[in-house]
């Protein structure tokens, strides 16, 4: 197996809040290999975006603080790098795209100039070379009439086109890793399909590794090779897409899949729900964070926080009483 291009080890990120310290990410481990898409999935507040922002050190410190852990990119620990060295990596070897392209693009500059800036910062190209590259990039992301569009301002473009511009900017310097934080969440479903298709073809073409953050399990099933499920700042289960969807082992993953209406759920009848809601991350309860919502909780769950251990088929699961394989014994 190849060495991971990006590895996060035991990452812990907290925020100072008026109510006390909020631990948003609490001991997260992730490994991303060349050419693969790793989906990080979870609900609001599970720490998926904070994990992504911690990797690139894009969180304002304070109130945020990366308390411990390693972020290894091509073997170097990003936490040990100075501001200058980090800037040389960001938007260059590691690029990021966000949910809302309108807030990530600067409304007062033409989109072509914004892509050109990404080139100017990281490369020594002549002006004509840069312009040629901008046109090439816009073509690459499927923007028609790139020569005309590069002179447009962000507000003149549709949401889908703006996301394409963001992707062009992210690809400007041939990144090894692309971090995509809910890149299709703000888009309509037919436009989402276009963007997912584009990301997939670009990933293959440039052999990138993609860290794809989403709340949508459907998107995970269609884009990822591996998945990490986050709950209350921790990875509760991680494995291949097939493992997680066919036979989830953590009760939270099972619950999430059951909550989704689908062709398999009975129309107009109650869905199986996860009762309650996520715990307060300022005052995390002892033991397993999911136990109060869990139908499989046992006494041990109250006292001992389950560690991520090897489960069926080599998937990792953090649970004292994991969901059995479908068809085995007490399968639900």
């Amino acid at each position: 197996m190849t060495a991971p291009v990006l590895a996060v080890r035991d990452l812990r990120t907290s925020f100072a809040t008026p109510r006390g310290k909020l631990v948003a990410v609490d001991g997260v481990d992730l490994e991303l290999r060349k050419g693969e898409t790793l989906c990080v999935v979870g609900e609001s507040g599970c720490g998926k975006s904070v994990t992504a922002l911690s990797i690139l050190r894009l969180l304002p410190e304070p109130p945020a603080q990366i308390e411990r852990g390693e972020i290894l990119f091509e073997g170097r620990d990003l936490r040990a790098l100075g501001a200058e060295e980090l800037r040389a990596l960001r938007g260059n070897r590691i690029a990021m795209i966000f949910q809302e392209p309108m807030t990530s693009l600067n409304p007062v500059f033409r989109v072509g100039d914004q892509i050109e800036e990404a080139l100017r910062v990281h490369r020594s190209l002549s002006r004509t070379e840069r312009e040629a590259r901008v046109i090439e990039l816009l073509e690459l992301v499927g923007i028609p009439e790139p020569r005309a569009r590069m002179r447009d301002y962000p507000h003149q473009l549709s949401g889908g086109m703006r996301q394409r511009v963001m992707i062009a900017m992210a690809l400007a310097n041939d990144p090894a890793v692309l971090i995509a934080d809910e890149p299709t969440t703000a888009l309509d479903v037919t436009i989402q399909a276009q963007i997912l298709e584009l990301l997939e073809s670009l990933k293959k073409r440039f052999d990138m590794a993609v860290l794809f953050i989403t709340h949508d399990l459907g998107v995970v099933a269609e884009t990822g090779q591996r998945v990490a499920v986050l709950y209350a700042g921790r990875v509760v289960e991680t494995g291949t897409v097939e493992q997680i969807f066919a036979a989830p082992q953590h009760p939270y993953t099972r619950g999430l899949l059951d909550s989704l209406p689908s062709a398999r759920t009975k129309a107009r009848e109650s869905l199986r729900v996860i009762p309650g809601r996520v715990p307060d991350l300022v005052a995390r309860p002892a033991g397993c964070s999911f136990r109060e919502r869990c139908t499989r909780a046992v006494s041990r769950c109250a006292s001992e926080d389950p560690a991520l251990t090897v489960g069926r088929g080599g998937a990792l699961v953090a649970c004292h009483n994991p969901v059995p394989a479908p068809g085995a014994g007490d399968a639900r």
Partner: protein
């Protein structure tokens, strides 16, 4: 045939939009010739992408905005012909739940005041009777009576949506228009609210006009579904028929674009080219033809009418097998 609870006929709504200088005005047709009926106790889903006109139809149905033309019949009466006071009395029977539980609750009113406002204003209950009605409504939506004295900011999104639902139920409506009521919620909370809506429908024989961009959710709740594109209904059918045998290429593409949580499902995804055209200058002929993989010459010049294919299945496509 029994009378529909709500029936919309030929509803059209346009807005004047500024364009360029010299006082030139263009019109944006947000809804055009919309026909739709909702029977007592049933759910009709209205789906489509941003800007297709589905929320405009929701607002027209309640006469929160005035149509340019068309009729709105509710419980047998033409809402457009009612006087102000008659309309107000009628409003008790038709309520709305909004998408954003953060923006749709008044932050300066306690939960109890918000839920009790309708019964109080309509002179149905006051004093101790109002208080007990509020407690009852809170119980119906799964909240405790103690929350009545608290303010919206103290609640999570899912709880606020429960409060919004309690407010809608306060006047014992026959129809609830739900405009993307679960779109801003996480899936585990979304499932809780969907279950609540289903339970309330059975208990109070509510009819829902359920507006959503989420085809999975619409399939789960609805008996019949209408698909909108650029202000018009392009297909309308019983839910099983629409999902199993869509007869409009737009519905087909929309359904195929929904990501399914089943890896390797081996589905063929139809990826439409381009964006939705501007509703200010919709394309001639069939409004979908510039993005349609099946378009042919006739589609570029002649707009297909919404026609019945049989058994309540309507489609506006030249290729549909009439």
């Amino acid at each position: 045939m029994t009378q529909s609870l709500l029936s919309l006929r030929g509803l059209t709504k346009s807005f004047a939009v500024g364009r360029g200088g010299l006082g030139r005005r263009a019109r944006l047709f947000a809804a055009r010739d919309v026909d739709l009926a909702v029977e007592p106790g049933e759910t009709v889903g209205l789906v489509g992408e941003s800007g297709c006109g589905k929320s405009t139809v929701a607002r027209l149905a309640l006469r929160l905005i005035e149509p340019d033309s068309g009729e709105i019949h509710f419980e047998g009466r033409d809402l457009r012909k009612l006087s102000r006071s008659e309309l107000r009395a009628m409003r008790r029977r038709m309520q709305i739940v909004f998408q954003d539980p953060f923006a749709s609750l008044n932050p300066r009113m306690t939960v109890g005041e918000t839920i009790g406002e309708g019964p109080r204003v309509h002179g149905i209950a006051s004093g101790a009777a109002l208080e007990s009605r509020v407690s009852e409504l809170l119980d119906i939506v799964g909240l405790g009576p103690e929350v009545a004295s608290r303010y919206p900011h103290e609640f999570s999104g899912g709880q606020r949506q429960r409060i919004g639902i309690a407010r809608a139920l306060a006047l014992e409506p026959a129809l609830v228009v739900a405009d993307e009521p679960v779109s801003s919620l996480d899936v585990s909370i979304q499932a809780q609210i969907l279950n609540l809506l289903l339970e309330l429908q059975k208990r109070f024989r509510l009819a829902y006009l359920f507006i959503s961009h989420d085809l999975r959710v619409v399939r789960h709740l609805s008996r019949r579904v209408a698909v909108m594109y650029l202000g018009r209904i392009v297909e309308h059918a019983p839910v099983e028929t629409l999902y199993a045998r869509p007869q409009h290429p737009y519905t087909e593409a929309l359904l195929s674009a929904v990501p399914v949580p089943e890896p390797g499902a081996g589905r063929k995804r139809i990826v439409l080219a381009g964006d939705v055209p501007s509703p200010i200058a919709p394309p001639p002929g069939c409004p979908f033809h510039p993005r349609c993989p099946k378009a042919f010459d006739r589609c570029r010049v002649e707009r297909p009418e919404l026609r019945e294919l049989g058994a309540g299945h309507f489609s506006a496509c030249h290729l549909a097998p009439y």
